[in-house]
Symmetry: C2
Subunit: 228 residues, 2 copies
């Protein structure tokens, strides 16, 4: 059982309301893996785990969003992936995390003991298969991301918007659950460049910025032409 009290640093940013981790009811989650999970809250900017920490837990996003990233020697953060509701992350093969993870907005996560999952996978081959699929998806995502990084700034931003739209229920509206900084770190650009491209996409009529985080895709066709 999972009974210990875990406290996580909640971001130092003044903006981050200090949300102490509390257990909440698991809702809308099924499957043998999720059954073992303990739900926790993480405030915006809160570190979930750091590079080099032991891979004791695997996480599932119940609500909110998480990014995994690596801190480069020059201080930049390279974001590897964003995880949205329903996504599982933190399942790395080695004994310690090769990336850090933090909540990009206030988020509710299911924490599951890695050892329990692995034990379960040994008894239940469908679980083993599920884990395998998670890794495979992760690799695919990394490969797509790799391609992104050799494109132009406009192409990167457009790809990102289309990717987010595809992963979000509402067809042509996206609520970006991360800051421009997070996006820039994902795309290997500066926040200024991201901002400029977004502005320019709006001028061209391809998108509308309802607010900076709520974007409406006006013309998929126009965007698709720009994404590569």
């Amino acid at each position: 059982m999972f009974t210990e009290t875990i406290r996580r640093n909640v971001s130092q940013q003044p903006a981050a309301r200090v949300v102490q981790p509390v257990k909440v009811k698991p809702v809308g989650l099924d499957g043998p893996i999720e059954k073992m999970g303990a739900p926790m809250q993480f405030g915006r900017g809160a570190e979930i785990y750091g590079e080099g920490e032991p891979t004791d837990y695997v996480y599932k996003v119940v609500s909110g969003a998480v990014c995994t990233y690596r801190v480069l020697t020059d201080g930049r953060n390279q974001v590897e992936s964003f995880y949205l509701a329903g996504d599982i992350f933190g399942f790395e093969l080695g004994g310690e995390h090769s990336l850090s993870a933090e909540a990009t907005i206030n988020s509710k996560l299911l924490m599951m003991r890695r050892s329990a999952i692995i034990a379960l996978a040994e008894r239940d081959s469908s679980v083993a298969r599920q884990l395998w699929m998670i890794s495979a998806k992760e690799l695919q995502r990394a490969q797509e991301h790799l391609i992104l990084l050799v494109k132009t700034a406009q192409e990167r931003v457009v790809c990102f918007l289309l990717e987010m739209a595809a992963r979000t229920p509402g067809a042509n509206e996206i609520d970006l659950p991360m800051s421009r900084r997070n996006i820039a770190d994902y795309l290997g650009l500066t926040i200024e460049t991201v901002s400029r491209v977004v502005t320019q996409l709006e001028s061209s009529g391809a998108i509308v910025l309802d607010t900076s985080r709520h974007i409406i895709l006006r013309s998929r066709k126009a965007l698709s032409c720009m994404n590569s």
Copy 2:
């Protein structure tokens, strides 16, 4: 059994001597997976498989070198990975290859039926584990590659040289089994930039270019300072 005769396109480049695939004796290879393999020769530049082709075979490099890549819409090739002697590649989860693969120099490969390997994995859990490890390594490699692509040209080239040195037996000498074009496509740079950086590394005394493909690392320390 694997008895059909397979012919592969050997590069159109005049430089590529036309080496017809022939079966050769498997040497220095053990393990249940390798036992099932049929050795084949591929000439420099020969395509091993193309994006979208069915993932019928898994390959092991006996000698030579292979790269996997994706063709971008603007005609560039983004190289995802290089595979050297001993490396296994082509094992993708979906039914078709998401990347293309070609020999960067004349190479000898072991071709194994994917279905046979999967069947074997179901009977032999150690094989399943081995496959798992291959995927995990692949993901790690992709993540490192991702980081590479947000660095400066010099850092990328230095990282590449150090990576190759680490994967090569001879401690401080590397025989690059690929062209500048392959390297540039891997690093997301132009051949001119790669060439300039290499030249500059030689001027600084960090390396010596015996020939353009045979490089001696003079000062690991100096290189390590530059790799990030």
